[in-house]
C-alpha cells in the first residue's frame, strides 16, 4: 500500500443492527471499516436476555417445562429433552422404549425443520430469494406431522418426565410415509439449486475458514465443528435416548469454510431422514410414559449435566438440586453462545459483503445466545 499518496483515508464505524434483515434476531455489531474491509468488530448481545435461568429457580420443574421449549424455539424439543433428561437422571427414572423412540423421531423431525430454515435463510441472505420459500414448504410438512401428535407447530410441550405426552394418532402413519417418500427428492432439488451454482460457490468457498483446533478452543460444537474436521457427534459418541440402538454416523467435512458448514447441514438433513425411517420401522410397542411419575416431582439433592445434540450444537443443562421441588441452579449451556463468541476473530479483515455469509453459516439463534 503506497503511503505517500496525497489522499487521506479514514476508518469509519458502521452500526449493523440491532434491527437488520440478516442478523437472525436482535444482534448488534459495531464495525470499524476501512473502505470495504472490516478492521474490527464489536458484537453486542443481550437484547433477548429473558433471564431463563433465574426464572427456572422460581418455578416447579413441571412449570418450567413449557418455558424450556422457548429457550431455543427452533429446536424446542431438544431444550425440553435436556430438561427432562436431567430430572430423570436425578430421580433415576427409566424411560420406556417406545417413548425413547418417539422422542428420537420427533427430535430428528425438529432438526430437519431447523435445518430447512437455515437453508432458506442462508440462501436469502446471499440474494437468492426462492430457496427460502422452498425451505419453508418442507418445514410445513414436518410441522404438520408434529401438529398431528402434539397439537403445536413450534413450541411443542411434548415431553414429560418419564416419557412423552401423547401417542401417535392413526393419521400419523400415512402422512409420515408420504413425507419420507417425498423428502429426499426435495433435498436433491436444494442441492441442485445451490451446490453447483457458480455465484454461490464464489460467495461461500474459502470464506470464513476456521481451523478445527481453534474452533474447539472457542467451544464450538455441532455442524460448525464437524465442518472443520472434528469427528464428534453426541448421537454416536455418547448416545442417549434411542440413538444407541439405531446407530448414527455423523457428517464430517474438512475445509471449515462457509460452504462446508452449509453442506454439513444439508447432509445432516439426509441423515435425519434415514434415522426417522429407522425409528418408524422399529417402533416398539408399549407405554408412552413411565407410570407413577409424580407430576410435581421433588428431585433428590445432587447435580447432573444433561447433554443433547441440538441442531446448533452441544446443548447442555447443568442442574443443581437441593431436594426441593424447584431447581437450585439451572445453568443452560447453549451452543450458539460459544459459536457466536468467535465472530470477532472471524470478521477481521473480511469484506463487508462477507459478513453476511459468515454470520449466516454459523446458524446462530439469538434467544439461544441470550437465554
Amino acid at each position: 500500500m503506497p503511503t505517500d499518496t496525497a489522499i487521506h483515508t479514514q476508518e469509519f464505524q458502521v452500526n449493523m443492527g440491532p434491527q437488520h434483515p440478516s442478523t437472525h434476531g436482535v444482534f448488534r455489531m459495531v464495525l470499524t471499516m476501512d473502505g470495504e474491509r472490516v478492521v474490527d468488530s464489536e458484537p453486542h448481545v443481550g437484547f433477548l436476555h429473558r433471564s431463563m435461568e433465574k426464572m427456572a429457580e422460581n418455578r416447579l420443574y413441571i412449570q418450567f417445562l413449557p418455558m424450556a421449549d422457548r429457550i431455543d424455539y427452533l429446536s424446542s424439543l431438544f431444550c425440553a429433552a435436556a430438561h427432562c433428561e436431567a430430572v430423570e437422571q436425578l430421580m433415576e427414572i427409566e424411560v420406556p422404549p417406545r417413548a425413547k423412540y418417539l422422542r428420537t423421531m420427533f427430535m430428528e423431525l425438529n432438526r430437519i425443520a431447523s435445518h430447512c430454515i437455515f437453508f432458506g435463510v442462508f440462501a436469502l441472505d446471499l440474494g437468492a430469494v426462492t430457496p427460502f420459500l422452498y425451505g419453508f414448504r418442507e418445514r410445513e410438512l414436518t410441522m404438520d406431522l408434529l401438529e398431528m401428535t402434539t397439537g403445536q407447530r413450534m413450541t411443542f410441550n411434548y415431553l414429560r418426565f418419564g416419557g412423552v405426552a401423547a401417542d401417535l394418532p392413526d393419521s400419523f402413519f400415512p402422512a409420515a410415509e408420504k413425507f419420507l417418500k417425498v423428502f429426499p427428492g426435495r433435498i436433491t432439488d436444494y442441492e441442485r439449486i445451490l451446490n453447483e451454482n457458480e455465484i454461490f460457490l464464489a460467495r461461500t468457498k474459502g470464506v470464513g475458514v476456521v481451523d478445527g483446533a481453534r474452533a474447539v478452543n472457542y467451544g464450538w460444537s455441532g455442524p460448525n465443528l464437524r465442518a472443520s474436521g472434528v469427528d464428534f457427534d453426541l448421537r454416536r459418541n455418547m448416545p442417549y435416548e434411542a440413538y444407541g440402538e439405531l446407530g448414527y454416523e455423523p457428517v464430517v467435512l474438512t475445509r471449515g469454510d462457509c460452504y462446508d458448514r452449509y453442506l454439513a447441514r444439508i447432509l445432516e438433513m439426509r441423515a435425519s431422514h434415514a434415522l426417522i425411517k429407522k425409528c418408524l420401522e422399529g417402533l416398539p410397542d408399549g407405554p408412552t410414559v413411565k407410570e407413577k411419575v409424580p407430576k410435581f416431582p421433588k428431585v433428590p439433592a445432587g447435580e447432573v449435566y444433561a447433554r443433547v445434540e441440538s441442531p446448533r450444537g452441544d446443548y447442555g443443562l447443568y442442574l443443581v438440586s437441593d431436594g426441593a421441588d424447584k431447581p437450585y441452579r439451572y445453568k443452560l449451556r447453549t451452543p450458539s453462545f460459544n459459536n457466536l463468541s468467535m465472530i470477532r476473530e472471524m470478521l477481521r479483515g473480511v469484506y463487508l459483503a462477507d459478513i453476511v455469509p459468515i454470520f449466516g453459516s454459523l446458524d446462530v439463534i439469538l434467544p439461544d445466545v441470550d437465554r
Partner: protein, 342 residues
C-alpha cells in the same frame, strides 16, 4: 404498421388545421412533439404498471405461491393500489441531507430513461426520431443514471446510502464498457448506428445468429446496468437495507422504483432491436413482435433475479474487467476479420 400510419394521418390533420385557421407554421412540429411526449409518457406509465404486476406474479409462481389475487382479476389492479399508497405517504427527508440534490436525484434517475425511448423503433417507421447516431445516443443518455445514483446516495446523508452509491457507481461504470463494445459488433454488421437501419439489416437473419457472444455479453452487462440480481448489490437488502435509496419514501421512492422497471424494459427493447430483429416478424403487425421480443428478454431478467444469489462487489468488478471486457474485444476482432475476409 399501426403506429406510423396513425401518426402520419394525425400529422396531415394538423397541417390541415394550420392551413385552415392560419396558425403559424411552427405549430405542426410543436403539436407533433406534444403528441409524442404524451404517447411515450402514457406508454411508460401503463408499461411500468404491467411490469410490476408481472414481476410479482412470476416471482410468486416460481416460489410456489400465488402472488396478488384479490385486487382485481388475479391482482391486476394491485399496482394501482400500491401507487396510490405511495403517493399519499409522508415525504420524509433526513435532517442531514443535501436538500436540492436529494430532491432532484429521483427525477434524474427517471428522466434519461424516458428520453431514451425517443430512438426505440416500436414498429415500421414508428420511431420518434431515427437519429443517425441512434445507438450512441442511447448509451450516452443511459449513463446519466450513474449521476442519479451517486446523488441519491450522497445526498441522503447516511453512511449506508453512501456505501450503496459508491458501489453502484463503480458497477455502472464498469459494465458500461462491455455493454457498448458488445453493441459495436452489431453496428459493424449493420454498417450504421441508426436504429431503423439496424432493424432493416436484420431482414434476413437476426443478428443473434451472427453475434451470439455479443448477445450473451449484452444481456449480462444490461442486467448489471439496471441493478438487477445477480448484480443488485446497490440495493442489497440483506446487507445495506436498500442501499442508496434507503432514505427515500413516498413519491420520490416511487420515482426510483419506476425508473428501475422502465430501465429494465428499455434494455430489453434495445436487445430486441439490436439482436432479435426489432419489429420484424411474419404476419403479426410489427408492434406486436416488438413487444413479444422485448418481454421475452424481460422475463429472462426476471428469471435471473429469482434464481441466482448475488455476487460480492470485488467479484463483480473482476467479472466485468477480467472476463467480459476481453470477451467483448475478442468478439469485435472476430467480427472485423470475418467482415474483411468474407
Amino acid at each position: 404498421m399501426i403506429i406510423h400510419p396513425v401518426l402520419s394521418w394525425l400529422n396531415e390533420w394538423w397541417k390541415g388545421v394550420v392551413a385552415s385557421y392560419g396558425l403559424p407554421s411552427w405549430f405542426v412540429p410543436a403539436a407533433q412533439m406534444v403528441v409524442h411526449a404524451i404517447l411515450i409518457a402514457g406508454f411508460i406509465a401503463v408499461l411500468v404498471l404491467f411490469l410490476i404486476w408481472l414481476t410479482r406474479k412470476v416471482s410468486a409462481h416460481i416460489q410456489q405461491r400465488f402472488g396478488p389475487m384479490r385486487v382485481g382479476w388475479h391482482g391486476a389492479v394491485q399496482t394501482v393500489a400500491d401507487a396510490l399508497k405511495l403517493v399519499q405517504k409522508e415525504d420524509t427527508t433526513p435532517r442531514s441531507c443535501d436538500r436540492p440534490v436529494f430532491n432532484i436525484a429521483p427525477f434524474l434517475a427517471f428522466a434519461p430513461t424516458v428520453v431514451a425511448f425517443v430512438v426505440i423503433p416500436f414498429g415500421d417507421g414508428a420511431i420518434i426520431r431515427d437519429l443517425n447516431i441512434g445507438v450512441l445516443f442511447l448509451f450516452a443518455i443511459t449513463t446519466i443514471n450513474v449521476i442519479a445514483v451517486i446523488s441519491g446516495g450522497w445526498a441522503s446523508g447516511s453512511k449506508y446510502s453512501l456505501l450503496g452509491g459508491f458501489r453502484s457507481a463503480a458497477q455502472l461504470v464498469s459494465y458500461e464498457v462491455p455493454l457498448v463494445l458488445s453493441a459495436l459488433g452489431v453496428i459493424m454488421l449493420a454498417g450504421s448506428m441508426k436504429m431503423g437501419a439496424i432493424v432493416d439489416a436484420q431482414s434476413g437473419i437476426w443478428f443473434v445468429v451472427y453475434q451470439p457472444l455479443a448477445f450473451a455479453i449484452y444481456v449480462i452487462a444490461a442486467t448489471a446496468e439496471v441493478n438487477r440480481t445477480p448484480f443488485d448489490i446497490p440495493e442489497a437488502e440483506q446487507e445495506l437495507v436498500a442501499g442508496f435509496n434507503v432514505e427515500y419514501s413516498g413519491m420520490k421512492f416511487a420515482m426510483f422504483f419506476l425508473a428501475e422497471f422502465a430501465n429494465m424494459f428499455l434494455v430489453s427493447a434495445i436487445a430486441a432491436t439490436l439482436f432479435l430483429g426489432g419489429w420484424r416478424g411474419p404476419w403479426l403487425p410489427g408492434e406486436f413482435w416488438f413487444l413479444i421480443k422485448s418481454f421475452a428478454i424481460v422475463l429472462l431478467l426476471m428469471f435471473f433475479r429469482w434464481t441466482y444469489p448475488r455476487l460480492r462487489v470485488d467479484q463483480l468488478m473482476s467479472f466485468a474487467w477480467k472476463f467480459l471486457l476481453p470477451l467483448a474485444f475478442l468478439n469485435i476482432i472476430i467480427t472485423g476479420l470475418i467482415i474483411v475476409l468474407i
